[in-house]
């Protein structure tokens, strides 16, 4: 099972991940990233990988 890790010192809430995997990521009203499912389902993994790759501050990682 892969697990999403967020480096809170790096995240600036750009919402790039949210655009690519909107069911998994959401930037809340305070500009803080909320991860709805820290262990995304198999069918979401491709989108989550794209989101990790696209993060402009390299704040996301996918750990096995």
């Amino acid at each position: 099972m892969s697990r999403i890790e967020v480096d809170r010192d790096r995240c600036v809430g750009s919402g790039t991940c949210e655009a690519l995997a909107p069911d998994v990521f959401e930037v809340d009203d305070d500009g803080v990233l909320v991860v709805h499912r820290e262990e995304p389902g198999e069918e979401e993994l491709d989108d989550v990988r794209d989101a990790v790759q696209a993060c402009p501050t390299r704040a996301l990682a996918l750990a096995d």
Binding site: R10, G13, G15, T16, E18, A19, G31, V32, P56
Partner: protein, 425 residues
């Protein structure tokens, strides 16, 4: 296929203001040579009356170096100044000491006040209003051209009003203040261009006055929003608490000015240079006009090609080494996005304008790191909507040129770009 074949000046000096009036092919020929031969080239600082002349700076032109510096903000900070080669005098900090020239954790806390507004999900809601603004502006541009025998100015009639109206609406700035916002914004990012800074001996006075003008609009709006909050960005700035405290007057003023100016000048120049690039590459234009499925890659290529902001500054916080280059605490680095975006180590045929380029890891919105462009998603939307609307509403637009370039190293700006509508008789 096109290639840069412009002559490289014998003595390269990026601090020579007149260099920035040269056409893109000359600029890129110089960047190509620096990147290949002297990727941390050192230059003395340009002299600006009223500002202390600092020790000089290194011009970073390789993509890998630029991204490495951007992504290590503890080693290469923004807090000494990011948008000026010289350290900014304290009295100008009132207006220009925004989060772009701050380091974390303060930068992150302040950025979060507005970050939600600029996420793709929230911007979905403003897409319709962006489309409405773009259509209004283009209909008006056609009217202007019809009254002038078909002639129009891409900058004044298309590229400037679109982002100006979008950002003013998001901030809650009323229509009657737009002209003042545009004028002040032009002065702030003039780079000292003599057309915009009349008194060349006192450039800081003009900057100071532009700051006062925008802060005046902010103060009036802020008072209104404190009394009657709305859902605009100005309300967020004046009502949100950071660490249990409201922002100070200085923080609100500089933030307000940052959003207005950054929201204005960057997208404007992406539109005007982008339309010129499409004129110069008719096969690319024809392809994009009939194929909205390439909107996404096309917009990224326009941003790479134009690189609306030429550089940002970082300052070393300690001694160290980067990719074999030794540096000392206090060394200034200018990250030349425009150069990194043509780095052949990253981009195949970097001087080819290819609207289907993919992948396109350009740094037109900045490299990886905390200062990545807040408005990137907004800019992408504005650009996609604008170019599509130009294809639909101004299919007979012909850029005739030549452009009047802004004499600025910082903003890749056009002041005027003559065009005509061939359908107007």
């Amino acid at each position: 296929m096109t290639a840069t074949a412009a002559p490289v000046p014998d003595a390269i000096d990026l601090s020579d203001r007149d260099f920035w009036l040269e056409p893109p092919e000359v600029r890129h020929a110089v960047f190509d040579r620096l990147r290949a031969e002297d990727p941390f080239a050192f230059f003395a600082e340009p002299e600006v009356p009223g500002m202390p002349v600092g020790p000089g700076y290194h011009a970073v032109t390789r993509h890998a170096d630029l991204d490495a510096i951007s992504s290590q903000p503890q080693v290469f900070c923004s807090g000494k100044g990011a948008v000026s080669i010289q350290d900014i005098p304290a009295d100008l900090n009132e207006f220009y000491g925004s989060m772009i020239s701050m380091d974390d954790p303060r930068h992150a806390r302040i950025r979060r006040i507005v970050s939600k507004t600029f996420t793709p999900r929230m911007l979905e809601r403003v897409v319709d209003s962006v489309r409405g603004i773009v259509e209004d502006v283009l209909v008006e541009a056609r009217r202007t051209a019809e009254a002038q025998g078909g002639r129009l100015d891409v900058v004044a009639d298309i590229a400037a009003p679109i982002p100006l109206r979008v950002i003013c609406d998001m901030m809650g700035v009323p229509a009657e203040d737009r002209a003042a916002v545009l004028a002040a914004s032009n002065v702030i990012l003039s780079g000292g261009d003599p057309e915009l800074i009349a008194d060349q001996e006192e450039p800081l006075t003009a900057l100071f006055e532009a700051g006062i003008a925008l802060a005046g609009i902010m103060e009036r709006l802020a008072a209104e929003r404190l009394e009657r909050p709305t859902d605009d960005l100005t309300t967020a700035l004046v009502t949100t608490e950071v660490d249990g405290e409201r922002l100070t007057h200085q923080e609100i003023a500089s933030f307000f000015i940052l959003l207005l100016v950054a929201g204005n000048e960057t997208t404007r120049n992406a539109i005007s240079h982008g339309l010129q690039a499409l004129q110069e590459h008719p096969e690319q234009r024809a392809r994009w006009a009939v194929d909205p499925s390439i909107d996404k890659t096309a917009v990224e290529e326009v941003v790479r090609w134009v690189s609306p902001i030429t550089w940002m500054r970082r300052t070393a916080t300690r001694d160290g080494e980067l990719h074999g280059h030794r540096f000392s605490a206090g060394d200034k680095f200018l990250l030349f996005y425009a150069a990194a975006n043509r780095d052949p180590a990253v981009f195949a045929d970097p001087h080819v304008f290819d609207l289907t380029r993919d992948p396109n890891p350009h740094v037109g919105f900045g490299g990886h790191g905390p200062h990545f462009c807040l408005g990137a998603h907004l800019a992408r939307r504005e650009l996609a909507v604008t170019f599509r609307a130009v294809f639909d509403l101004l299919p007979d637009l012909e850029v005739t040129g030549p452009p009047d370039r802004l004499r600025s190293s910082f903003v890749n700006g056009l002041k005027r770009l003559p065009a005509r509508l061939t359908g107007v008789r």
